[in-house]
Symmetry: C3
Subunit: 206 residues, 3 copies
């Protein structure tokens, strides 16, 4: 298994957890939890492939990702895990923040990479845009299906963290694809967590 | 007219009715009813075609389906029909359940068939996934546009009924395409109605 | 710069304003405003290109449109502009109605034109359908992301204005592409504004 595949599986697991956590908080039953976890995990990649003209999207051809996401969601649904999440009020929010941020970082740079491979050249604007859609798409679908305002519109530095991670990945591309992707994902993850921790405050309409 | 086309028209009518019923319950005006009925009826097929790379999607090339769905929605909007729906509180829910389940069953197996034809071979995972998206897609769009939590996340055995119907259709494929599709659709329809009638209860997060 | 490009930029600006106005009314912060403005402006065109099989969609290849939309959204977010919008209760609603109607008219006929060019022949049904999706798509995404019932399902003559503008554009196509598009957009704009001003009343389910 290549390190790229391991990276994608990690992103899939992280987003599946975030989807399952949201589904549980919305009192969905076990099937709703599995489906929302899977949708969150594979949704961004499906949007990415549709935009790049890769049909059927990879998720529809390789059962591994969807099945991994379903298995992870079912694990999160296990009573001991759920009890853990409810143990402290804050734990639910922290888990959602953390796993969503990991998925955001990983899928952003995978989107950049896929745009690069699909087009055979690095069109920076296309790569950033596709990276952001790949990174944010799963979470947007998760929040819309769960009936909550999408994170991307209400959380500080959500899309911005994704954009800056994509930019970092592209700027570092020449040092090697894997370090560029790892550092790009780290930039997004770090910015997103810092913004949440320090509650970076942005101008808001009154 | 081939029996396949008749089958697809029946699914279109059933989903158009379900969309119109939801729109009426949301107090939409006549245009909203027509558009929601049409979106429900052709939405799943459009998603299916985008995933399979069939562009423009069939619904955009053959006016018949969209126009049928609009005509059916306007019929449902006629005062006598609406009065009938309101006659008993339960009738509205029953109509929605029944026609949604018929559309779910038919579009699931049409999705399986389209995936098979488009790829020239039966990739079981792809066919099931595309079948479920085709079957559930129209209803998900309907519920999201109407501002209600999508059926697929909150109703027992919704996606599961679709998955099991797709699996049955694929297992039976060798006995002939049409009997496989009819039986697959029947499996989905029967499971969905049984689950609703007996209120099959699934574990839910507390 | 061709007159067609100027026309598309005008539509982009109008829809970006409508998206920013909705985002501000939903108390989103400056990033949410920029992203919702951009999504509204480029969303319809992206759906159009996916349907026609044009991948990556134009918006992903030409940075101009997305960046224009972001810049316009940030301008709308400037305190003096926001204060102006809040100056009178009605002004907010009027701005949304007006700019949404301009975007609806322009993107409808651009959708018709793109369908025509992409297919090399004028398939009237396809052109109308693609025109309506292009015109209404950005606004539907805007309203769904903002958590409000989509305009298209609740406003009188919204989709109808788009359909009639597309039909006018197609009927006039032989007198020349540009006059046909200008008149088609004018038909949609005029019908939408007249319907809102005179509160054209349509049958509604009781």
């Amino acid at each position: 298994m290549s390190i790229f595949v391991a990276f994608e599986i990690l992103g899939t697991i992280a987003f599946a957890i975030s989807g399952a956590v949201v589904a549980i908080s919305k009192k969905m039953d076990i099937f709703g939890v599995a489906i929302l976890g899977m949708t969150t995990a594979v949704g961004g990649g499906i949007l990415r492939d549709l935009i790049l003209g890769i049909t059927p999207p990879a998720a529809f051809q390789s059962p591994g990702y969807a099945l991994t996401a379903i298995a992870v969601s079912l694990l999160v649904f296990l009573p001991p895990v759920r009890r853990l999440l409810h143990w402290k009020e804050k734990l639910y929010e922290t888990a959602l923040l953390l796993f969503d941020a990991i998925g955001l970082g990983i899928f952003t740079v995978i989107g950049v990479q896929t745009a690069y491979i699909a087009r055979g050249e690095l069109n920076a604007f296309l790569a950033i845009f596709v990276g952001v859609v790949t990174g944010c798409g799963g979470g947007v679908l998760r929040d819309m299906f769960a009936g909550t305002p999408p994170y991307i519109f209400v959380k500080h530095f959500y899309a911005t963290a994704s954009i800056l991670g994509a930019v970092a990945c592209i700027l570092l591309w020449n040092i090697g694809q894997m370090p560029a992707m790892l550092l790009g994902a780290a930039v997004t993850l770090a910015l997103r967590l810092l913004a949440a921790y320090y509650r970076w405050s942005l101008p808001k309409a009154k």
